[in-house]
Amino acid sequence: MDNNFVIYAENLTKKFNDFVAVDSINFFVKKGESLGILGPNGAGKTTTVRMISCFLPPTAGILKVFDLSVYRFPRQIKSRLGICQQEDNLDPDLNVYQNLFVYSRYFDIKRSVAEKRIDYLLKFVGLSNKKTSYIREISGGMKRRLMIARSLVNEPDFLILDEPTTGLDPQARNQVWDSLIELKKKGTGFVLTTHYMDEAEKLCERLIIMDQAKIIVEGTPDYLINKYIGKYVIEISNISSEIENFIKSKNVNFEKTSSRMLIFTDKSESFFSEIKEKFCGSLCSLRLATLEDVFLKLTGRELRD
């Protein structure tokens, strides 16, 4: 095995009783790389990252982190990982500073070293002026940032981020992104799960899309968009049978939702002008294809949960 791999998973499976939450998936992450795991609710993202974090023992398969087996070396693996779980689990009995300090003790970091590092981290996530606040007194965005700061206390070689920005307002999300981009510049790779396509596109070099316990596709954002959608999307919001027949005759990829029609295409201008003139005028638009198009195309449009 190439020991440039930070994570290596082969036929990784997790069952809860008879329910298969992760079904024989294969993937890897290289040193310094940032991998995004996308997928609808219940796809198995959290279960996957919880196995990587040595929280849950896999039911079957190989899973190595830093070239160490999660079955045998959880302590060693966890001492080098920075783990930011999906649910905030900051200590409500302690204030902001103490949260980081008590956490540093679990890693056996010397007090003087920890104190310096915590000051730095609080500055890094913009919480220096909240040192003595208790967790109930700080906002959701601040909690998330504190979670990230906490996961950095041990100067991890690699980060595990499970939905780091879910539920945050745009300002807070951007702040979290800035922190992660800065870490990436310093060479700290991560695995990140998210529902936000823009987040995945911005932060991750490579993506995995999971659905129903399986990995359905894998690749860079550009590759996925080009392969499954093409360059452009034409959106039509006044669908009629004439348009539909016309599109079908053109032999292009398209999808129909209850109120719109989406046409996926590489050739743009002339085709778009033709549709616009013939059928829909201002009720249709041309835009670049996005990861969201890929996601919805591959995982379907029905609601989950």
């Binding site: 929280f55 409500p92 103490q98 008590v102």
Partner: protein
């Protein structure tokens, strides 16, 4: 045994976490343990003690307050660890997700539960010692022999920490702790020989009393009090030690089962 193998010195870090929280509100936390024994002693000393003068125990006639003092120390030791590893541990585990947070560090479940048990034991030592200090003001303890009550508080603390953790390992909501409290703790408090010698009970009730671990703790503490030992002392001590070892492993194993699916 994998459970034993997985326990490391890092358990102390969990103990330290609880200690850090404890000393945050040190005033309340260090005054409280004195208040309760004071109330007990005043109530029994000024009340019941006026009616019951002496109680025969192991061939010794003990003044009533002196008789119940070791029993009350045992009771307080039991309460502080049991409530710590039931309600308090459950809140940390279930409501605050503190165990989840700690699991993101090099610690394993075994370390976390061991740390919690040690913390419950520590609470018992603090409570037992506080009670001893209060009792000493009333000249109810004879030193230096009474100092043995401190390690025995630790032993009792370990017994009841592990019993508490056993309940925590399968309880679903915090209200369900009412069941062990009413069905186990309350009868144990009343029928373990704290207030009267078990020998006055009818035979069938005596048998029940010997199901309760508190009975054994009260026996050894009271024997220390009168500085007179017989086989019952030895048996009780051995039973408590064996119980601790079994329950320690069992409670960690069951918590592991609960937390790791």
């Amino acid at each position: 045994m994998e459970i034993i193998k997985n326990i490391s010195w890092r358990s102390i870090k969990v103990w330290q976490r609880n200690w850090s929280v404890y000393i945050e509100t040190w005033l309340v936390n260090f005054v409280m343990p004195f208040f309760e024994p004071l109330l007990y002693l005043l109530a029994f000393g000024l009340g019941l003690g006026k009616l019951v003068k002496e109680v025969p125990y192991n061939g010794v006639l003990m003044p009533y307050l002196s008789f119940i003092t070791p029993g009350l120390i045992g009771t307080i030791v039991m309460n502080y660890s049991f409530y710590e590893t039931t309600y308090a541990s459950f809140v940390r585990m279930y409501h605050q997700k503190t165990f989840d947070a700690i699991l993101s560090t090099p610690l394993l479940i075994e370390d976390i539960i061991t740390g919690e048990l040690l913390w419950g034991t520590t609470k018992s030592i603090i409570a037992g010692t506080s009670m001893m200090i209060v009792a000493s003001f009333f000249h109810l303890l004879v030193y230096p022999i009474a100092l043995w009550l401190i390690p025995l508080s630790a032993l009792g603390g370990m017994v009841f920490s592990t019993i508490g953790m056993l309940f925590t390992s399968f309880i679903k909501t915090i209200e369900q702790f009412n069941f062990p409290v009413f069905l186990f703790m309350t009868p144990m408090f009343l029928f373990s020989g704290v207030f009267f010698p078990i020998s006055v009970l009818p035979f069938w009730a005596q048998k029940i009393a010997y199901i309760f671990p508190l009975t054994y703790l009260v026996i050894i503490m009271r024997d220390i009090q009168i500085n007179k030992f017989n086989l019952a002392f030895l048996y009780s001590l051995i039973i408590l030690i064996i119980l601790t070892i079994i329950l320690f492993i069992l409670s960690i194993g069951l918590m592991k089962k609960r937390l790791i699916k």
